[in-house]
Symmetry: C2
């Protein structure tokens, strides 16, 4: 039987029932015509009527009483107040502001402030191919929870990449998690207690602050320079505050795009060792580097450095999986914590799709093209922002962020609020700064800043703000 005809017939039956309910010829609580009789009335097969009734029941318009047929729902659904429910609420410009605005605004809104690439820059062909293959996977992969550490083939792929960077690790020093953020969350739970002190870069990824606040720890910021954290301040803070953990990105730092030079990495590790501080290295932008730079985890050999990352920036943020590489005892404890708080590791279906894309031949080529594309976008966006008097703090070696200073010490929060009114989500400096010392900075995602409406609107917003 041709699919489209069957589909049409099902829709016809659904429409007939909808009309009966709308015209009150079927009232709430009424029993629907029996499958057999309505099939005869409509001149379709009983299967078609069953399909139609089931769909209407899934919508909540009718309900199936087990063993006794279908009835019109007595409990009509309340009206959907979409706008009210779904639109990001007016709220203070804090770290959640950027998250909510960028995640919940609809597709018509432009998002130079967001933290991901446009969907058509992602390796969707390889992903679609992996999805088609997934439809033929065995039942166990589709149905079961999967192992507590996550897919072994994906952990092996990660180990191969770590080895390229000089990190020798074994499969039991790596675990997979649901998301990169969840990796960090598990580690915080494992290492920290309320009241502990954690050091972050100032500025740093805004969600670090939100996450650490959820752990009720004391947050201190170390000033970040174009060559990494200010080492004098770093060492002074270690002496004065004895932070238990330092959380950073060594390569393509978010939001600045800076990369840690080897000398800084070496000194920083020595200071950490002296003060028994643990370092969490979030390496989520690793694949965007033109050539790999030095990593704290590699210098340290996963002794006091824990490395985390995910595939959300390069592969898909919809099919999510994060990872943690750390010494084996810590991984054992983290696996227990993940079982307790998430029951098991990441989705086996997600890890299978990611493994297929990474192991396939096209991923490396895709990343090479992407790096070239981003280099062009960076140059183009630097030019356009320059015309507006907005200047980058440094020119990053890779990635998609530009950390920029606004002209005339304009307040980035005010600019972001004015831009939002024009349908543009920006990422104002102070959401990245624990000291609130970046009021005239703004983070731009170059891949989302190419739309010509952005330059025009920003020019107007800046003119009014002066």
């Amino acid at each position: 039987m041709p699919r489209s005809d069957a589909g049409t017939r099902t829709t016809d039956v659904m429409l007939a029932i909808r009309n009966k309910i709308a015209s009150r010829s079927l009232a709430p609580g009424d029993r629907l015509p029996s499958i057999r009789s309505f099939a005869a009335t409509m001149g379709v097969s009983p299967t078609t009527v069953v399909e139609a009734y089931d769909r209407l029941a899934a919508e909540g318009l009718i309900r199936a009483l087990r063993g006794s047929g279908f009835y019109v729902s007595t409990t009509a659904l309340p009206p959907l107040k979409l706008a009210e429910a779904e639109s990001p609420r007016a709220r203070a410009v804090d770290p959640f502001w950027v998250s909510r605005q960028s995640l919940d605004s609809d597709d018509a809104v432009l998002k130079p402030g967001c933290g991901w690439l446009p969907s058509d820059w992602m390796p969707n062909d390889a992903l679609r191919q992996a999805i088609r293959r997934l439809a033929r996977a065995d039942d166990n992969l589709l149905a079961y929870y999967g192992s507590t550490r996550g897919s072994l083939p994906l952990r092996r792929l990660l180990l191969a990449r770590f080895a390229e960077e000089g990190i020798q690790a074994t499969p039991d020093e790596v675990m997979l998690t649901s998301t990169g953020t969840q990796s960090l969350d598990l580690i915080c739970r494992f290492l920290l207690r309320p009241g502990d002190t954690v050091m972050i870069d100032d500025p740093c990824y805004f969600n670090f602050q939100a996450l650490l606040k959820a752990h009720q720890v004391k947050i201190i910021g170390v000033p970040y320079t174009p060559t990494g954290p200010d080492l004098t301040a770093f060492e002074a803070l270690l002496n004065a505050e004895r932070p238990r953990v330092y959380l950073t990105n060594s390569a393509l730092h978010n939001p600045t795009g800076a990369t840690l030079p080897p000398q800084t990495a070496h000194r920083l590790l020595n200071a950490a060792a002296q003060h028994e501080m643990i370092i969490i290295e979030d390496d989520i932008f690793a694949d965007f580097e033109p050539e790999p730079s030095v990593r704290l985890a590699a210098l340290d050999g996963l002794n006091r450095v824990i490395r985390i990352g995910s595939f959300s920036k390069t592969l898909s943020a919809s099919i999510r999986c994060g990872y943690i590489a750390a010494q084996r005892d810590w991984i054992d404890g983290l696996v227990d914590l993940q079982v307790a708080t998430n029951f098991g590791g990441p989705s086996p279906v997600a890890t299978e799709l990611i493994t297929q894309v990474l192991a396939g031949g096209s991923y490396r080529k895709h990343m090479e093209e992407l790096r070239r594309k981003l280099a062009r976008a960076r140059r183009e966006v630097v030019d356009r922002l320059h015309r507006l008097g907005i200047e980058p703090w440094l020119l990053p070696r890779g990635g998609f962020y530009l950390w920029c200073r606004l002209p005339d010490r304009l307040d980035a929060t005010h600019v972001a609020q004015a831009a939002l009114a024009e349908g543009i989500v920006l990422a104002p400096g102070n959401v990245f700064s624990v000291s609130q010392g970046a009021s005239d900075f703004m983070r731009f995602n170059v891949a989302h800043t190419l739309d010509p409406r952005i330059e025009r609107t920003l020019a107007e917003v800046l003119r009014k703000a002066r």
Copy 2:
């Protein structure tokens, strides 16, 4: 070009390189033949060589130096100690014991102690159909994080089901999460502080204890009877301990299979209101009931009851998504917490697949068949266990658990350890009991207890244990 030939040619090139490395004609650090020259040598196209090199690079055997070709890895991967790394470690029989044994044991192990259905009992055909459709989804669905509350269509489907049970809720009173366990974890973070008191049923789902321990709260157990918690003890504990939260399953309680009668539900809610206690109702087994029973969330109207659930038991534990229904202010706070600790809601790809299966016509029929199949399995397993002197505490109305007493007060932990040595994972009573008062009980998953080897092995294990 036919796929299989291309695949064979790629494999040939990979094998040729592997052999060169194994025979040391290519040593660590050596540059591989150029794409063009090796394509000529092998009589294949350059594309095939690129594909083969990329796959070898993904395996870690060779590495791509950006812009300069491929080299044999100098850092061979350490040997995979699979057995050591992957086998569940010998450890105390605590709540983690059952999780680790059931999640990490290989497929040859029989698992009457596990908490999920066999993969061929799941709606895999509908899932495969949804996966094939997913391959044609638009780029945004495949690439982006999705909204903070999760897919609106899936929330609407949930609202339709809630309405059938008499729960009137709006889309902003529902949020989707990564997993059912994560739903509970977010709520604990939102409501609890270390040192708070939480009441659970004794016995209850073993992971509740593990999760609450991660929150460093005081755990108290209320004795569970065939008609729900013992109300006298419940009220006495409320007076004496003033728990902030009570966590329970109202329908098809885990592990006992009991269902709360309306009178108990009503009294329990009144007592909770008097002591300003919040109730978390975990409704993960809802769809296994032959007819819906009364729900605390429905009586209470999402005032002090928070309802959680997931699709892991009926649809897939590999494609995971949980939900929370609660008053709107709480959902707002929980959404912020989920952004901070997970960056965004559940995987949009996962919620799309779940929506497709639930909205499709076949799901209701699948669940009806499943309930019949489980009823038969329950009868059969009750008979088999009876022959071993193992008797159910009650006969549940639905679901897949039987909570059973072992003969002669045998110690279930010892029996479980002995059974594990024979390749059978059991769930001994005390992992479910905060008071450790269920030492001669065992939870059986009837769907996994039909294998005839289980009766034989259990008979032997029990004989030796006497």
